[in-house]
């Protein structure tokens, strides 16, 4: 899906928990997330801490969208 969206000329960032799969399917801008059942959260943390963590990840994704790349890039 991410590849077809990018082919249409839209810049896409793939935020996912299993980076090797994204690399295999051809994601270009990849942001690793927290865990498979909760990529943008951590149920062990308080609601406020969890939301701050989520915000950091979204900000990282926005940063990735604004970064020039030549090849598949994982934004650690």
């Amino acid at each position: 899906m991410v590849k077809e969206i990018e082919r249409s000329g839209i810049t896409a960032v793939h935020a996912c928990s299993i980076v090797p799969i994204s690399l295999t399917v051809g994601g270009n801008r990849i942001v690793p997330t927290i865990a498979i059942p909760h990529p943008f959260g951590n149920p062990d943390k308080s609601f406020e801490e969890e939301k701050a963590l989520r915000r950091q990840l979204v900000e990282k994704a926005l940063q990735a969208l604004q970064t020039p790349i030549e090849e598949q890039t994982v934004f650690e």
Binding site: M1, V2, A12, V13, A15, C16, V25, E59, L65
Partner: protein
């Protein structure tokens, strides 16, 4: 009396009989004797004895591959000194991506570190195939567990040939191409074979190439967004976040559709409004707070603060769980068409 072979079998928590997604985080553990599909292996191949079964949680291995593989090796090492097994069999994993990655990583590790032959089985579209096919033997299987018996009948003879150090060939022994070249004697010289092939092609007759070209399906990286504060963003997910009740009945696995859902007036997802339809992970956390899979709450905040220009009024969701590559491609194209028409420049696609 026929030769007996001792094998170690590796299974995920599901096939190992420990539990479903709620157990996907269990660390690797070793049990004596066969479990689940191991029983079928022993039934189909009476010369085989499964000495032990290693069971691991899908998420545990997929999320921390390096640690998990180290733990697996230290569990297996004592078994490989006294009463050394002949072979390690992992899976089959069919189209399961996390399971496939674990099987591939385990096979690669035991071959290298313990010098033990290893075999696994997968459907050719499993994402783990591209990662592991060069260094491991992956027997071809069907898409799902309906093909368990055939998968075992394919994996085990291949594995036993490896044990006996017999020559194996991808077509004959039913495993996925490793990209190796082997020297063979052919009755006719290359020039003659090539011309024969060319003539067949010109006459519209069938022929088989001796060197299939690799297919690289890559999209060029799109140029960066100059300034997100002026860009239009859309949200897409394969994590199965849908309005409560799953109105489009998106399938929990092998999804046949994607959904288009309005974000109008919505500041965040909540347990009251949305849920997950995904059958490939424990839904507890996503159902408690769907923003954990598709972070609408934070995206809305950033939009209000001006860090994001504007948000497309809909989000798009499907279930990425053994979904065919063909379908995923189709959904991506259909979604992209709508987004382009609405002037969207950037997409955040989230996956579990």
């Amino acid at each position: 009396m026929s030769t007996r072979y001792t094998i170690i079998h590796c299974l995920n928590q599901f096939f190992g009989g420990i539990g479903g997604e709620e157990q996907a985080n269990i660390p690797p553990c070793l049990f004596p004797g066969p479990k689940g599909p191991g029983m079928l292996i022993q039934k189909e191949f009476p010369e085989i004895e499964i000495a032990a079964t290693l069971i691991f949680g899908d998420n545990y291995v997929a999320e921390n591959p390096e640690t998990a593989i180290r733990e697996i090796l230290s569990l297996l090492t004592p078994h490989c000194t006294e009463n050394r097994p002949d072979l390690l069999v992992a899976g089959p994993a069919f189209t399961a991506g996390r399971y496939g990655i674990a099987c591939g990583a385990i096979c690669e590790a035991v071959q290298e570190e313990l010098d033990l032959p290893a075999v696994t089985g997968m459907y050719p579209n499993n994402p783990a195939v591209e990662l592991y096919r060069q260094h491991t033997f992956i027997a071809r299987t069907s898409e799902n567990v309906m093909g368990m018996t055939d998968a075992i009948r394919n994996m085990i003879p291949l594995g036993l040939k490896l044990v006996r150090q017999e020559e194996v060939w991808p077509e004959k022994d039913g495993y996925l191409l490793q990209g190796r070249r082997k020297n063979i004697f052919a009755p006719e010289a290359g020039a003659k074979r090539a011309v024969t092939m060319l003539l067949a092609r010109m006459n519209g007759e069938p022929f088989t190439t001796e060197y299939p070209m690799p297919v690289f399906d890559r999209a060029e990286p799109a140029p960066p967004i100059e300034d997100m504060r002026r860009a239009r963003l859309a949200l897409v997910t394969s994590g199965g976040i849908v309005p409560k009740g799953n109105p489009d009945r998106i399938e929990a696995a092998s999804a046949q559709r994607f959904g288009t859902y309005s974000l109008e007036g919505l500041h965040a997802f909540s347990a009251q409004t949305h849920q997950t339809a995904h059958g490939g992970y424990d839904p507890t956390y996503a159902n408690e707070d769907p923003n954990r899979v598709l972070p609408l709450d934070v995206v809305r905040e950033l939009e209000a603060e001006g860090a994001i220009g504007s948000l497309h009024e809909y989000y798009y969701a499907t279930v990425g769980n053994a979904t065919s590559v063909e379908n995923a491609r189709k959904y991506g194209q259909q979604i992209a068409k709508v987004l382009v028409a609405d002037g969207v420049q950037a997409v955040i696609l989230t996956s579990t």
